[in-house]
Symmetry: C2
Subunit: 243 residues, 2 copies
């Protein structure tokens, strides 16, 4: 097949000409961004299955979304698809990886080497996606000095010393909320600007610090809320005398 | 103070009269529901601080949202506030707890007693919110029979036997994606209708099954995406020649 792939053309309002370089100006919606990791996951699976190309229709079927949503979403980024040819899986995977900022290694530390912190350090999937857990920190002498997979647990006292000599992109907080609030100003003073927060607290940081919260209890509560709402809806329908 | 509290009145379109009972008919938006656990958390904190009453203004300051959003959100549920009196913290906490379905014990099992499964079983906060981890299941003889906090690890072979004699509301999946896909039909056959899913897969279930996903890698990728976008925005601003 030697057909020249025809690239999608971006709508004009998305483009700004700066010298000879086109840059995407349109603000990408949060909804689209939130779907990118899922695309990335499906593309990773396809690569594992040695699939080289996939049409938006086939990808749509797998992901249980519409093909038009896929085309729309990926058009936001300039559109990697080619009409009548489908998406090049490896290329799209790499491009979305770049968009997600995971084409290079991202250095992560974990503050709090309790059960959850250790579980995260043991999680091999992060590494596959470019996130390298470099070190853990804790106050508990029982874990300081331990090695969790490839990473050592340091004393929390040595946090500043460590950060001054190692480049770190993301600090993960897996420690009780009181301690989390204490450690945040120390992290900021060391130049950390991205926090992956598991502590059950809204962190006291300004707009210049990126925080991604994983509040596990709240996720469970969402589930129990939906269970209850579901049960009430069923009861309501069962009790309906008809009108 | 003996002033009779004046309850907020629900707008008429929210109410349906069924016999003598008013039920809230309006569909609560997902955005509001997603904020409930956060209200619940702040109210828990207030109770720990022995605060009995709080005005929507003070609550708004703590939660860094507007007082009008708080009033609007809580009005969705019939409005627990009283004008000139504020919210009764204990009452509101209990009512939101009920709305979230956590006023009674919710029985949870964990399928997959690896690092993450064990970390969840060790997490005391769940119990405080009414979620009781009853048992864990695994295929690994090294963990079967172990006790994690108050819960025993059973062989995954005994899943059906256990579920037939113990009431379980939620199954947590902390196992590799291939195994997760295998275990789901078994859970459904046992009547499980709510799954808290940490496996890196979209579960093959119908609309009658509630799934709450916690995809940790995807959460990390959201963070790295935002880091990259932030960096590019700063570079763009720095490189701007002014127009």
């Amino acid at each position: 097949m030697t057909r020249t792939p025809k690239n999608h053309i971006l709508p004009v309002e998305n483009l700004t000409k700066t010298g000879s370089v086109f840059i995407v100006k349109k603000k990408i919606s949060k909804a689209v961004i939130s779907r990118l990791p899922r695309y990335y996951r499906y593309l990773s699976d396809l690569m594992e299955e040695n699939v080289d190309r996939i049409s938006s229709n086939d990808l749509a079927k797998r992901m249980k979304v519409t093909a038009s949503q896929i085309r729309q979403d990926l058009n936001n980024f300039g559109g990697f698809g080619q009409q009548g040819y489908g998406y090049n899986v490896g290329h799209l995977h790499a491009e979305i990886g770049k968009l997600l900022g995971i084409h290079t290694h991202i250095n992560v530390v974990i503050i709090g080497a309790g059960h959850l912190g250790q579980a995260l350090a043991n999680y091999q999937n992060f590494e596959k996606r470019g996130f390298i857990i470099r070190a853990l920190f804790d106050v508990d002498p029982a874990v300081i000095g331990k090695k969790i997979r490839n990473s050592e647990v340091y004393s929390l006292k040595d946090l500043e010393k460590y950060l001054s000599s190692h480049p770190v992109d993301i600090a993960t907080l897996t420690l009780p909320k009181e301690r989390a609030a204490e450690v945040v100003p120390r992290l900021l003073a060391c130049g950390i600007r991205a926090i992956w927060n598991f502590a059950h607290i809204d962190l006291p940081v300004g707009d210049d610090v990126l925080v991604e919260n994983v509040h596990l209890s709240e996720s469970l509560m969402q589930l129990s809320y939906r269970m209850l709402a579901d049960k009430e809806e069923k009861e309501r329908l069962a009790g309906k005398t008809g009108d």
